[in-house]
């Protein structure tokens, strides 16, 4: 049974003088309710919110995908018009990547990573809240077009990589592209802010003894991903700034008549875009590297080389962007260079696959649902990786680029890879987060339906691509030999949808009615499992001291020694005045809200010289002012907090094995 701790808070502030309390610098402290969610700085609540929004957008993106598949079920189908179809795949791609997979990874970073390194929170809790709300603002801007008339607004329809000059004002004068530009810009701000936070947290907030080479692999992958984000997002930020200037201020970056070169957009986009795909897969690999050892009851095989290969993938990821541009006529030398560099990535990725298999080897494999998804991941990701290697042979890619072969490749790595791993992660950590365990039967059923549906959907797409079916086509002729494969794919996507429906229905059911579990239901190896389920807001009653990789596994096998150590540290902590907790704050939310208003002003209103421009300017200014005021007050209120004193003997029970 989970051990309940009683926490008593006193508001003795950290500074030697009581802060001046004014009506502006009031610190909210609502333990529950809406206000709590809006002002929370608790990494666990923020992580939960990230996950919540991400899953909603995953379903939205999924419904868009089903519409795409329905349109393609038959040749010359008329479920969607050309325009609706183009909007659909643009939004599907953008939503899945930026609003589903990335924030779902961020949810795990937020929730799990601090627990795994033995920290009480991230380094900058309020910055963390700001990242979350800015992400939500970006998501709103990106989707706002659905609710506005399509003649002058509408949802974005320029493809997820928005190639100029199609996205310039000349060819798409509607505001739809403005939503895309502004939405991505906000998401970039959110991602960079969050990643800076994770970098500092991982480097600086590790529990004593948690050296870098003892970090759980998931934490390592978080770190590498965070680096990829902070170093690759600036490229797309600049590209988007240039596009925005072209659209709104008549600059010539991609304006051909002024001498602009649209190819530059492609370079800047993919300088970001390729690292982006590793941003999507590395967290997934981290999750898998946690699940496999846990359910094999063995440490990860070749930890150092797995970590090193992860970093290597991240680094190489910056040197291969032009493999998305093999058909742009780069010249033989450049094509060859990028082709070779791309192939090299197969080596560190292969290392990971081999070491995962090595982890299984000689273990006691417990086939629980997370393990099923993890094994599914290895198989499917491997297939996706192989089609990636086929792409990397540039001349072969000349036939595959922009065909359904690419669609098959990246859905294998994105669904078979990222999504499988994230679904595995949800199952794995569900007991920790909610204190309830998902039914094995329904879990496995959903796995098999998803697995079958996924393969039936996407495997035929390889053949479609090789048979010459181009992607992003809302219709095709019946005489091209694509009818059957398309029909199968569509049927598969319905099965896949059913599987995902079962999955989420099971989750919702478990959340309310699932079987309750106590600490450490899986016989876990890392520190998060040392906590009660769900973890208390201060995480660790006593900051653990780490003596080995797989710290909790070590604790479980050295119980007495650890118990003594904990008791000592608890005493020390109490002498320092208890556990320091940061106050909640509304200002991160205010700042993000300001950005939302600003973005609405910049995108929704026309800038012709009739009233539009005035409304536009006014909204932008108001939004900017709110954002600046929010940030300033946030700085002014300071990072004060209160202290918690834990009563009871939680420290001793910490290492107690369930």
């Amino acid at each position: 049974m989970a051990h309940d701790t009683t926490a008593k808070s006193d508001f003795s502030p950290h500074e030697e003088h009581a802060p001046a309390k004014t009506f502006v610098l009031w610190r909210p402290h609502a333990p529950t309710g809406l206000m709590d969610w809006l002002t929370t700085v608790d990494h666990k609540k923020i992580g939960f919110l990230y996950g919540f929004f991400a899953l909603i957008f995953f379903l939205v993106g999924g419904v868009e995908a089903l519409l795409i598949r329905t349109q393609l079920m038959f040749p010359n189908n008329t479920v969607l018009t050309a325009q609706q179809y183009n909007t659909m795949f643009t939004m599907h791609g953008t939503t899945m990547i930026f609003l589903a997979v990335m924030p779902l990874s961020a949810a795990f970073f937020n929730y799990i990573m601090p627990l795994q390194i033995g920290a009480r929170d991230v380094a900058f809790p309020r910055l963390n809240a700001f990242s979350l709300w800015t992400f939500v603002a970006g998501a709103i801007i990106l989707n706002i077009g659905w609710f506005l008339p399509v003649d002058r607004w509408g949802a974005p329809d320029g493809g997820w990589f928005g190639y100029a000059p199609l996205t310039s004002k000349t060819f798409i004068p509607k505001h739809s592209i403005d939503f895309w530009v502004m939405g991505l810009q906000l998401l970039g701000v959110a991602s960079i802010a969050a990643s800076l936070n994770f970098i500092v947290t991982i480097i600086n907030l590790r529990a004593p003894g948690m050296t870098m080479m003892r970090l759980p692999v998931f934490v390592w992958m978080t770190l590498v991903t965070a680096f990829l984000i902070v170093l690759s997002f600036p490229a797309i930020t600049i590209a988007l700034v240039e596009l925005m200037m072209d659209r709104n201020f008549g600059t010539n970056f991609f304006e051909v008549s002024g001498g602009g070169m649209p190819i530059l957009w492609q370079h800047l986009f993919w300088v970001f875009g390729h690292p982006e795909v590793y941003i999507l897969i590395l967290p997934a690999m981290g999750i898998i590297s946690e699940i496999l050892p846990c359910f094999s009851r063995k440490p990860l095989y070749g930890y150092p080389i797995v970590v090193f290969s992860g970093a290597c993938i991240g680094f190489l990821g910056f040197a291969v962007w032009s493999h998305h541009m093999f058909t742009t006529g780069m010249g033989a030398v450049a094509t060859a260079a990028f082709s070779m560099a791309t192939m090299c990535i197969a080596v560190p990725t292969g290392v990971k696959i081999f070491n995962w298999i090595g982890t299984l080897w000689g273990g006691h494999l417990k086939m629980s649902t997370p393990m099923m998804f993890a094994l599914g991941f290895i198989w499917m990701f491997m297939l996706g990786g192989f089609s990636g290697v086929m792409h990397s042979a540039a001349p072969a890619d000349a036939q595959q680029q922009d065909s359904y072969f690419v669609i098959a490749h990246f859905h294998y790595v994105l669904i078979g890879g990222s999504i499988f791993a994230l679904l595995a992660g949800i199952h794995y950590w569900f007991p920790l987060i909610f204190g309830r365990k998902v039914s094995e039967f329904w879990g496995k059923l959903s796995f098999w339906v998803i697995f079958v549906g996924f393969n039936v959907t996407f495997f035929p797409m390889h053949f479609l691509g090789l048979n010459g079916m181009p992607r992003r086509t809302f219709t095709y002729d019946p005489n091209m030999g694509w009818n059957t494969a398309n029909f199968i794919a569509t049927m598969g996507s319905y099965v896949l949808g059913l599987g995902i429906f079962i999955y989420f229905a099971t989750m919702v059911y478990t959340y309310f009615k699932g079987e309750k579990v106590g600490r450490d239901p899986w016989d876990g190896r890392t520190l998060e499992w040392s906590l009660p389920t769900p973890p208390p807001e201060y995480n660790f009653a006593v900051i653990p001291t780490v003596h080995a990789r797989d710290a909790f596994w070590y604790e479980k096998h050295h119980q007495e020694e650890i118990a003594k150590e904990k008791a000592e540290h608890a005493k020390e902590d109490e002498a320092h005045g208890g556990i320091h907790m940061p106050f909640a704050s509304i200002y991160p939310f205010v700042a993000s809200f300001g950005l939302l208003i600003l973005a609405i002003g910049a995108t929704v209103f026309d800038s012709n010289w009739s009233p539009g421009i005035h409304i536009k300017l006014a909204t932008v200014l108001v939004g900017g002012a709110v954002a600046v005021a929010g940030i300033y007050l946030w700085a002014l209120e300071g990072n004060e907090g209160y202290h918690l004193h834990i009563e009871g003997d939680d420290h001793k029970s910490d290492a107690k094995k369930h």
């Binding site: 008329t78 190639y163 798409i172 742009t328 033989a332 192939m343 292969g350 039967f441 339906v449 002729d477």
Partner: protein, 429 residues
């Protein structure tokens, strides 16, 4: 609960479920041989050296990864089955030895991966250089010399939203309107000499398009402000499907084209007829074989197919048949159509050499009657489809610039107008 236990029974064997679902769809597919990739745009059944080199490379990558997949997959499957905990007791037994890895094994596997990649890399490099230069023309001067000698044939292809313009810089056609000469231009159907390397200069006047004839060569993009090119060779005369492969806006999906490769004599004959100004019909010709009654344009549904399977059986023959005038031409009707072409402002966009039409923003129509398709490969070029097109181009091709022209110029056509225009267009052989 009942449901759960029932399903549980059904679901005892995970693998069965997999086979049932997967097998079901395979069964559905088996009669159609969907995995035989012999469509019009097949990248597997190629008909030119460039595409062949790319496909051969693809098979190298395929085999290498297939072998790796079998090996790695076998080990993975073995490990999964062998080390699976068989019982509850097994799960709670003493943990297995906590081994941390073996550097030698790891290094060995890395070396093996590198080796596999080398097998792919070598043919990749070869194929890259092969696709980038017309054989024998590795310097600019040499290329120009070969073009001058017509050892390499040169054409320009330009992408427009959503059709292609083709130009023959080496062939000068007379333009009666100006009395001068201009390079021969045509649209949506590229005629090339078979068995000869063709260098295609790729340009665009608006957004990025991509030029792709899967059976002849992998795609190369048409990028604004960039001088891309592609070379290809058709091994033998034939009729090939092409497609724009870069998303270029509303009607990207229906931005298609055709390539017709002809033997030397046929090619020269074709050039000769193309260089002529537009044809005039002086007298009534004998009635043609009766066509099936054609439908009124209103009855076309939005995306109703514009091609018939009959056409697919031997498209090259269908194209050849189009080259000479059909029977049943009515000079009066044609003259009416010619006049309408002027009065309905078609001339503002289209060019018909010799008939006073010099528009530049739309496909050249001087010999439109001799093409096998219209509207960028979307519709078969016959009476029925021509009328469907000019009746309401915007419905056939969403976002179409011609439809916009109709609205801007307030063009309305009666059924009689349409018939006259169709007769006129069909006469332009």
């Amino acid at each position: 609960m009942l449901l759960t236990s029932l399903l549980k029974k059904l679901f005892r064997l995970d693998v069965c479920a997999f086979l049932a679902l997967g097998g079901g769809s395979l069964l559905r597919a088996s009669d159609a041989n969907w995995f035989v990739m012999d469509g019009h745009q097949s990248t597997i059944f190629t008909e030119g050296p460039v595409a062949a080199s790319q496909t051969n490379l693809f098979f190298v990558t395929c085999w290498v990864t297939f072998v790796i997949f079998i090996i790695v997959g076998a080990v993975l499957a073995y490990a999964t089955v062998k080390f699976k905990a068989r019982s509850e007791a097994d799960e709670h037994a003493e943990p297995p030895p906590q081994g941390h890895g073996n550097p030698l094994v790891e290094l060995g596997l890395i070396a093996a991966s590198v080796l596999a990649l080398v097998i792919i890399a070598v043919p990749t490099l070869k194929a890259i250089w092969f696709t980038y230069d017309v054989p024998g023309a590795d310097t600019k001067a040499k290329l120009e010399e070969m073009i001058a000698k017509k050892e390499v044939y040169e054409v320009n292809a330009t992408g427009y939203q959503w059709w292609f313009k083709f130009e023959y810089p080496t062939e000068q056609a007379t333009v009666p309107e100006s009395g001068g000469k201009a390079p021969l231009a045509t649209a949506n159907e590229l005629i090339i000499p078979a068995g000869q390397p063709v260098r295609i200069n790729l340009r665009t006047i608006d957004v990025i398009h991509s030029f792709w004839i899967p059976k002849l060569a992998g795609k190369v993009d048409m990028i604004p402000n960039r001088a891309n090119f592609l070379w290809l060779k058709a091994d033998h005369p034939g009729y090939y499907w092409g497609q724009c492969a870069e998303y270029c806006g509303d009607s990207h999906a229906v931005m298609r084209f055709r390539v017709i490769a002809l033997g030397p004599k046929d090619f020269n004959d074709w050039l000769d007829s193309q260089l002529q100004p537009a044809r005039n019909v002086a007298s009534k010709t004998a009635p043609k074989a009766q066509l099936a009654a054609w439908r009124k344009p209103e009855s076309f549904r939005r995306n109703e197919s514009g091609v018939t399977s009959k056409f697919d059986i031997s498209p090259l023959d269908a194209w050849i048949a189009k080259q000479s005038p059909e029977g049943g031409e009515d000079p009066e009707l044609i003259a009416k159509g010619k006049a309408l072409f002027q009065s309905k402002t078609c001339v503002g966009c289209h060019a018909i050499r010799g008939h006073g039409a010099q528009g530049v923003t739309a496909p050249e129509l001087t010999h439109v009657g001799a093409r096998s398709t219209i509207a960028a490969g979307l519709l078969e070029n016959n009476h029925e489809q021509l009328q469907r097109w000019i009746h309401n181009p915007g419905v056939v091709k969403p976002g179409n610039k011609m439809a916009k022209g109709y609205i801007d110029n307030k063009i309305t056509l009666t059924e009689a107008d349409e018939e006259a225009l169709v007769a006129y267009l069909e006469s332009l052989k």
